[in-house]
């Protein structure tokens, strides 16, 4: 039974690429659509596709779409221009630019932050998924680089944004995870330590433009050590993030 299930799963996975839809076809609705040689605003226009002609959307890179017209000529068109084309249903192509509205209701977010963890340098990456406009589940990984010791920190938590409709969004967060500390070899030989930890934090996100976010945060950790006293390091970090 197990084997059968595994085989079925394999068959489904193997058939998945076949299920990929053919490239979508849309109709030019503006007087003409300019096609550029590259995916950027500075690239020269080499072709124009007149109104009413069908184009095939071949691929996308950032905000640019590579399209092919009926005569097989290819070029790149910006998302704003493609948003003015029509689908076979007569609806505008649904490729609106991400802006404040998307920032308010984005689901996925990832970023890189750097700062200070109780005197040590910290480099941190995080990814989050919004459960609703205010609450997001977040996973963070940090590397700590100090003069006396190095370490890694992995934690999961929840982030709560008070006002998703503001451009500057204050948030609070809390969570738990693991920390591993490796004292430097040049100092007294002390063993590596792995401890559990919990944290609370506060910070803010600022919507910059398009899908970019500036983020700053302050965290207070409690490391549950084997010794009599827990450690309570503090951390601040700044960085950039983007949503998608």
């Amino acid at each position: 039974m197990q084997l059968l299930r595994a085989l079925l799963l394999l068959a489904i996975l193997a058939s998945a690429p076949v299920a990929i839809a053919a490239p979508p076809e849309v109709m030019v609705a503006e007087p003409y659509l300019e096609l550029r040689t590259g995916p950027g605003r500075g690239y020269p226009v080499t072709h124009v596709v007149p109104r009413g002609e069908a184009i095939t959307v071949v691929k996308r890179r950032t905000d640019w779409f590579k399209v092919r017209d009926a005569r097989g000529r290819e070029g790149w068109a910006h998302r704003d221009r493609l948003a003015a084309t029509f689908t076979p249903q007569g609806k505008p192509m649904p490729v609106a630019a991400p802006g404040r509205e998307e920032f308010e209701e984005h689901r996925r977010e990832a970023g890189l932050l750097a700062g200070d963890f109780e005197g040590a340098n910290v480099i941190s990456g995080y990814a989050s998924y919004a459960l609703n406009p205010q609450l997001a589940a977040e996973l963070r990984f940090s590397q700590l680089l100090g003069n006396a010791s190095d370490g890694q920190l992995l934690a999961a938590g929840l982030t709560h944004v008070f006002r998703p409709d503001w451009r500057v969004q204050p948030f609070v967060s809390m969570g738990a995870g693991m920390i591993r500390i490796q004292p430097k070899a040049t100092l007294v030989q002390a063993p590596d330590r792995s401890d559990e930890l919990a944290f609370v934090g506060a910070g803010f996100k600022v919507y910059l433009s398009r899908q970019f976010i500036f983020r700053a945060e302050y965290n207070k950790y409690v490391v549950f050590t084997d010794r009599d006293e827990n450690e309570e390091p503090t951390e601040w970090k700044l960085g950039f993030a983007f949503f998608f």
Partner: protein
């Protein structure tokens, strides 16, 4: 025959026009408009495949991954072969996020060579391994020409990142600054020439010292 078809089409159109203006059913339309067996006069239906367009169906190529090889000057420890991997996510036409991971074996310092004393570092401590996460800015996008017939899209970009380096038995916080040029051989294949400076503090002789470790690499990456 042709006049008959035209007649049928016209009566069909008239019936539909009447329908549109009165908003009612075409009760007065002549029964002859759609005789049995004749093709239904669907003049308005466009001859396009009715398929829903989903943006998710469009093949996006925002990720770029590849490998590089070049030389790295480890301060005080000669210039050595370096190789590594690079992954980038293109956020917009101007900016990208980038991660690099490289490794090299540092050589012998002039001090070790001249003094003839015991080596300062063991072989495993001589390994220079770094990673860096950061952002890049496509400062000068453009095209380059090869002869008169070929044009390739290109960009000159600046990068800044933070990461860590393992060298001399120690992990060190590292800031990596760089500049590079990218040429797209195909839509999905790019060649890069990168210059980077890894700035970190190194403690080999008992005191911390800031070092600049310059690197020049050639890489090949694919968009996916």
């Amino acid at each position: 025959m042709e006049t008959r078809i035209r007649f049928l089409l016209l009566t069909g159109l008239l019936a539909l026009a009447g329908c549109a203006t009165t908003g009612g059913t075409p009760t007065q339309a002549p029964a002859a408009a759609a005789p049995e067996g004749a093709e239904s006069p669907s003049v308005i239906t466009p001859q396009v495949e009715r398929r829903e367009v989903r943006v998710a169906d469009i093949d996006t190529e925002n990720w770029e991954a590849g490998a590089y090889i070049g030389s790295l000057s480890v301060e005080d420890f000669e210039v050595n072969l370096v190789y590594g991997a690079r992954i980038a996510y293109h956020i917009s036409e101007d900016f990208f996020a980038e991660g690099i991971l490289g490794t090299s074996d540092a050589g012998i310092s002039s001090y070790e060579r001249l003094s003839g004393s015991a080596p300062l570092l063991t072989d495993s401590e001589r390994e220079f391994r770094y990673y860096s996460l950061g952002f890049g800015w496509n400062m000068l996008p453009g095209e380059v020409f090869l002869g008169g017939d070929r044009a390739y899209n290109s960009a000159v970009y600046l990068t800044a990142g933070a990461g860590a380096t393992r060298f001399a038995g120690d992990d060190r916080f590292t800031v990596t600054l760089g500049a590079g040029a990218r040429i797209l051989i195909k839509d999905w294949l790019a060649a890069h020439l990168d210059i980077r400076d890894h700035v970190l503090e190194v403690d080999v002789v008992g005191t911390n010292k800031q070092t600049h470790n310059f690197e020049a690499t050639l890489s090949l990456t694919a968009f996916f």
